[in-house]
């Protein structure tokens, strides 16, 4: 955890993409991340993929957590990843997806570059630990 030793704070964007209006989960995650000592930027509801890309690039986040409960992940997540690549921000952003994702889709998302998918009931500690262990190193 070089980040902590150097006094570098892990920055996360918690993003809601698409049309589903359920952000309780995103709020819970945002608060847990804050209490873990991360800086959290919350996107707000109903964001388009390019808005998420804009936020992730400008805020220079280490972690992008996308919460999708609408089932549109196969359409929306690739668009976000494309956008990040366009700005050269894909390589060093840890991309996480939270929501109800079928196993087949999970495999596909991971092939695209999503680091991990967290389903319902994932203990908060597990997610935080994953972020700590996998947040991209920077020089």
């Amino acid at each position: 955890m070089s980040a902590e030793q150097e006094g570098r704070t892990i920055r996360c964007l918690v993003a809601k993409v698409g049309l589903d209006g359920h952000d309780r989960g995103a709020h819970v995650i945002a608060r847990a991340f804050r209490d873990a000592g991360f800086e959290v930027i919350y996107s707000g509801l109903h964001r388009a993929p390019d808005e998420i890309v804009q936020a992730a690039v400008q805020e220079d986040v280490d972690v992008l957590g996308i919460s999708i409960l609408s089932g549109a992940h196969n359409t929306l997540v690739p668009k976000v990843i494309e956008g990040l690549k366009e700005y050269g921000a894909f390589e060093d952003t840890l991309i996480l997806v939270g929501g109800i994702i079928p196993d087949d889709d999970e495999r596909e998302l991971k092939e695209l570059g999503v680091a991990e998918v967290f389903g319902p009931g994932t203990p908060m500690e597990e997610t935080i630990e994953f972020v700590r262990a996998n947040a991209p190193e920077r020089d």
Partner: protein
């Protein structure tokens, strides 16, 4: 990070690459190795942006108003950079930076560069980090830079001072008159904005504000009316004026009070007019340059203090740490003044030698 990488990053930023700008601001925030060289390199490219500070109590509508301001600037063909400072938890250092949610009018527009910063325990002070981030946006070529803070304490007031023009937001009917005098925030505002002007009590708040602003003008004003021949000093501010580079006979700025409804953009044009008027005043009166000079002086002092502090910290560590020194004082072996003298003496010696050369 090697010197070559730093140069690349600076070159990419000047070339207009968003990712490079974002990364430079991260380095400034983190004080990562090499950030000083980067900011040094950028300095030559700064000085073209107009910097506006926006402050006010939580919930006054700062972010919403900033969003609308940015939109108007974009409509006028100007590029915009925004730095929004939010508090962080003193316990965990964590923060939820929520201002971005309000930036609804500018989503997807990359020419509005919005960056959230937390007031985390900045090593060189939050105001230094903000000032450096402003430089990065300035060098990137932004025409207008808006710095937004919660006007809660000295720290935030210092942040806002990195701006040429400061707008203070006030909510109607929040017992403001006493509150604002208490916060001392009245002195820093160049433009006052009563936001949510459609709420009850807005007119009263405007009246109260105007009254208070008149009170702050000229301390001898009330005395001039006396018929006992009170001698008004010709240049009452001459002494103070010299220090801040203000010429005594120059016309002082009278802050205006603007009413806005940020949610539907009402009054935003008036606000822009007021900001522009203040800018014009600064330029015509020579205050713009004086302000910048003063700001750089403060910045140099802060950096020097910080750097010397680090030298001294190292000297303390060499002598077994601060606790060991304190123990010796506690045991009456020595006293704080002697310890301080001993620590600073070698540094003072070096400075003296250098000067004599």
């Amino acid at each position: 990070m090697s010197a070559a990488e730093e140069r690349d990053l600076v070159a990419e930023l000047l070339d207009g690459r968003h990712r490079a700008l974002a990364r430079v601001i991260s380095k400034i925030e983190d004080h990562s190795p090499g950030y000083r060289e980067i900011v040094s390199d950028l300095h030559a490219h700064t000085g073209d942006a107009e910097v506006i500070g926006v402050t006010g109590s939580p919930g006054a509508g700062k972010s919403t108003l900033v969003d609308k301001l940015a939109r108007r600037y974009r409509d006028a063909g100007l590029t915009v950079g925004i730095i929004a400072v939010d508090p962080s938890s003193p316990y965990t250092g964590g923060a939820v930076l929520g201002d971005r949610i309000r930036m609804a009018s500018n989503v997807g527009d990359m020419d509005v560069f919005f960056r959230s910063m937390s007031a985390r325990g900045q090593l060189g002070g939050l105001s230094t980090a903000t000032a450096d981030a402003v430089k990065a946006l300035d060098a990137f070529g932004k025409d207008r830079i808006i710095v937004e803070t919660v006007g809660a304490g000295q720290n935030e007031v210092d942040v806002v001072k990195t701006a040429d023009t400061v707008a203070v937001l006030v909510q109607p009917g929040s017992g403001d008159d006493v509150q604002m005098l208490k916060a001392g925030i009245l002195e820093i505002g160049d433009v006052f904005v009563v936001n949510k002007a459609d709420m009850d009590g807005a007119t009263r708040t405007v009246a109260e504000l105007e009254e208070m602003l008149h009170m702050r003008e000229s301390p001898t004003k009330g005395l001039e009316t006396g018929h006992h021949g009170f001698d008004v000093p010709e240049h009452p501010d001459a002494e103070d004026g010299d220090e801040s580079g203000e010429s005594p006979d120059e016309k002082a700025w009278e802050p205006s009070v603007i009413e806005t409804v940020a949610t539907d953009g009402e009054g935003v044009d008036d606000l822009i007019d007021a900001l522009d008027a203040h800018r014009a005043y600064l330029e015509e009166s020579g205050r713009l340059e004086a302000k910048a000079r003063q700001r750089y002086a403060t910045e140099i002092r802060a950096l020097v203090r910080n750097d010397v502090g680090e030298l001294v910290e190292a000297a303390i560590d060499d002598r077994g740490g601060i606790d060991a020194l304190a123990d010796r004082v506690l045991a009456r072996e020595t006293d704080p003044y002697t310890v301080a003298d001993e620590l600073v003496a070698p540094i003072a010696e070096c400075v003296r030698e250098q000067r004599d050369d």
